[in-house]
Amino acid sequence: MTTQTSTVTPILQGKDLVKTFGRVVGLDGVNIELYPGEVLAVVGDNGAGKSTLIKCFSGAHVPDSGEMFVNGEKVVFHSTHEAREGGVETVFQTLAVAPALDIASNLYLGREVRKPGFMGTIFRTLDKKAMREQSAAQLRNLGISTLQNITQAVETLSGGQRQAVAVARCAAFGSKVIILDEPTAALGVNESARVLKMIQDLRDRGLSIILISHNMPQVFEVADRIHVARLGKRAAVVTPQSHSMNDVVAIMTGAMTVPVEEQQLAPVR
C-alpha cells in the first residue's frame, strides 16, 4: 500500500503539538489530521497522551508549542467556549455534566437561551420552555428514547443515560467536529452499541469525529482510520483494513513499527 496524498483540507489538524505539565511530558510533538466526514480513532496505552491531545483541540489545554488548524485556518483556543465557537465539540472522559442540574440545563450549559423581548434582554430571563422542547427534540433525533423526563436531574440517570446526555449535547451543537474521549468506557454492551450507532449516524450527517477508545473491536467497527499514540507521539496511522487488532496493539506497545509509506495519513478517496 502506498501513501495517500489528498487534496482535501483536513477539517482539524495539529502540527508538532507539545504540552508539558511541569516535568511530565504529555505531548511530545504530535501531528494529527482529521478529514471531513471520517471517524478517526485515537488509541494508545494509558498515559500515551490521548486525552491531552484532544484537550488541546477542545480548548481545555493550550499547547506549549505547535499549531492547530480548523479547515485549514490557524486557531488558538484559550477555553472550551472558544473551541465550541470554532465548531469543535467534546465529550470529555469525565463527561463534564453537572449532576444536580436537569437534562435540559445540562444540554444548554454555558450557552443558555434567553427569552425573546425585554424579558430576555433586560431581565435576562432564561427561556426554559424552549430549551426543554429543543432538548427533547434533540434526544428524539438521536434515537434516545430511554430519557423520558427532560427535567430529571442528571445524577438520577444511569451511567449510559448520562453518556447519552453528554453525547447529545455535542451532537446538538456540533457544527464541524465532535471529539469523544472514551464514550463507552462505563457502558454495558447494549449501551455501547447505541453510542456506536450514534457515532455512525453523526458521521452520516457529515460530521467529522475523533473517537478515543481502548476497546479494539469497537474501534475496528466504526473507525475509518486509526491514529496510534505512543509516549506523547504519533506512532502510526493505519486502517482496520490494512492492519489487524494484534498489529495495532503491537504498534501501541512499540513491538511493531509501520514505515511511513505504509501508513494512512489521509483517507482513501
Binding site: 477542545s58 450549559l109 435576562r124
Partner: protein, 351 residues
C-alpha cells in the same frame, strides 16, 4: 486525573422498579430542599404556641420578623457563597465595617469623628457604605480566584482584617442614634398592617429574597452558580468561566452585606462596632438549617429564609416558655447537626 462524578447506582432498586416509603420521602426532600426546614418551622410554631399562646400574638410575630432581619439579609449573601461550595466567615466583619463607614460619613458633628470624612450627604454615605461592602467582597473573591486559596482561609483572614480596620479607622466608638441622619435609620422605622408592626427593613429583606430567588432560578448566572458549586471541573469544561462566576458571587455578596449594614443601623438605632460577633455563625446556621448543602450546588433561598426564621422562632419560643438563653443555643446546635445529617442522607437519593 479526576474521576467521573457518578454516584453509585443501586442496580437492584432500578431493576425492581420499586421504591419504599423511606425512599419516596428521601426523594421528595431531595427534590424540594426547603421542605424539611418548612416542616421544622411548622412543628416549632405549633409546639411554642402550645407552650405559650402568646407566641402567636401579632406583637410577638412582628417582633420575630424584626429579630430575623439582620441575619436573614446576611444569609442571602451566605447562601450564594455556599451554593458555589464556598463559605464566607467575614460576613459579619464586613457588615460592621460597612455600617460604620456609612455612619461615620453621614455623622454631622465633625468633632466626634475619627476620620475627616464626616458631613456627607446621607444618601452618598449610604451609597459609599454599600460600595465599601462590595469592595470587601471583591477582595475576598479576588484572593480566592486569583490565588486559588480556599474560601474558608481567605474569609477567616479577611474577618480579622475588616474587624481590625473598623477599629483602626473608626476606633471602638459607637455612633449614637441622635447623631445619625434619619435616612440611615429609615429602614428601622415601622408601619402597621392590621395589628402587625413591620419594619421597612423587613420589607427590603423580603424584596431581596424575591429578586435573588428569581435570579437564581431564571438567569444563566444563577444556573452557573449551581453548576460551579456542583462540579467546578465539569462547569469549566462546559464553557463556564468558573472564576468569573465565583468572583462575581463574592462581589454580589458584598453588595448584600452593605445593604444589611444599612438595615442594621435602622434596626439597632445606632452604629456600633460591637454588634453580635456570632452573626457569621448564625448566617451559616440559617443556610444549613434551610437545606442548602455545604458541599455546594444544592439549595434554595426560600429555605434560607425559613432557616433564619427557625433560629429566631426557637429563641423567641423558648424564652416565652420560660427557658433561658442556654437552651436556645443548645436547640439551635442540635438543629444544625440534624440538618447536616439530613442533607447527607438526602444526597444519597436517586430521584
Amino acid at each position: 486525573m479526576s474521576s467521573p462524578s457518578t454516584g453509585t447506582v443501586d442496580l437492584a432498586e432500578e431493576f425492581m422498579g420499586r421504591r419504599s416509603t423511606m425512599q419516596r420521602i428521601q426523594g421528595a426532600l431531595h427534590k424540594y430542599p426547603w421542605l424539611s426546614p418548612l416542616i421544622v418551622l411548622a412543628v416549632a410554631v405549633v409546639i411554642f404556641y402550645l407552650l405559650n399562646s402568646r407566641f402567636l400574638l401579632p406583637q410577638n410575630l412582628s417582633f420575630i420578623t424584626q429579630q430575623t432581619v439582620i441575619v436573614g439579609t446576611l444569609a442571602i449573601a451566605q447562601t450564594l457563597v455556599i451554593l458555589t461550595a464556598g463559605i464566607d466567615l467575614s460576613i459579619g466583619a464586613i457588615m460592621i465595617f460597612s455600617q460604620m463607614l456609612m455612619a461615620n460619613l453621614a455623622v454631622s458633628t465633625t468633632a466626634s469623628n475619627v476620620l475627616p470624612i464626616a458631613g456627607q450627604n446621607p444618601y452618598l454615605a449610604i451609597g459609599l457604605g454599600i460600595l465599601g461592602g462590595m469592595a470587601a467582597g471583591a477582595l475576598n473573591g479576588f484572593l480566592i480566584v486569583r490565588f486559588n486559596l480556599p474560601p474558608f482561609i481567605v474569609t477567616l483572614g479577611t474577618l480579622s482584617i475588616w474587624t481590625a480596620l473598623t477599629l483602626i479607622f473608626f476606633k471602638a466608638r459607637t455612633i449614637q442614634g441622635p447623631e445619625i441622619p434619619d435616612q440611615l435609620k429609615w429602614l428601622g422605622s415601622t408601619f402597621k398592617i392590621g395589628e402587625f408592626q413591620l419594619l421597612y427593613g423587613v420589607i427590603l429583606m423580603l424584596i431581596m429574597y424575591a429578586i435573588f430567588g428569581y435570579i437564581l432560578r431564571n438567569t444563566a448566572w444563577g444556573l452557573h452558580i449551581y453548576a460551579v458549586g456542583d462540579d467546578p471541573n465539569a462547569s469549566e469544561l462546559s464553557g463556564i468561566s468558573t472564576k468569573r462566576v465565583i468572583f462575581s458571587v463574592y462581589l454580589v455578596a458584598g453588595l448584600i452585606i452593605g445593604i444589611a449594614g444599612w438595615i442594621t443601623i435602622g434596626r439597632v438605632g445606632s452604629a456600633s462596632p460591637n454588634v453580635d460577633p456570632l452573626l457569621n455563625l448564625d448566617t451559616i446556621t440559617a443556610v444549613v438549617i434551610g437545606g442548602t448543602s455545604l458541599f455546594g450546588g444544592r439549595g434554595t433561598l426560600i429555605g434560607t429564609l425559613i432557616g433564619a426564621f427557625i433560629i429566631t422562632v426557637v429563641e423567641n419560643g423558648l424564652s416565652l416558655a420560660g427557658l433561658d438563653q442556654a437552651y436556645r443555643v443548645l436547640a439551635v446546635g442540635i438543629l444544625v447537626i440534624l440538618a447536616v445529617a439530613v442533607d447527607q442522607w438526602i444526597r444519597k437519593a436517586k430521584a
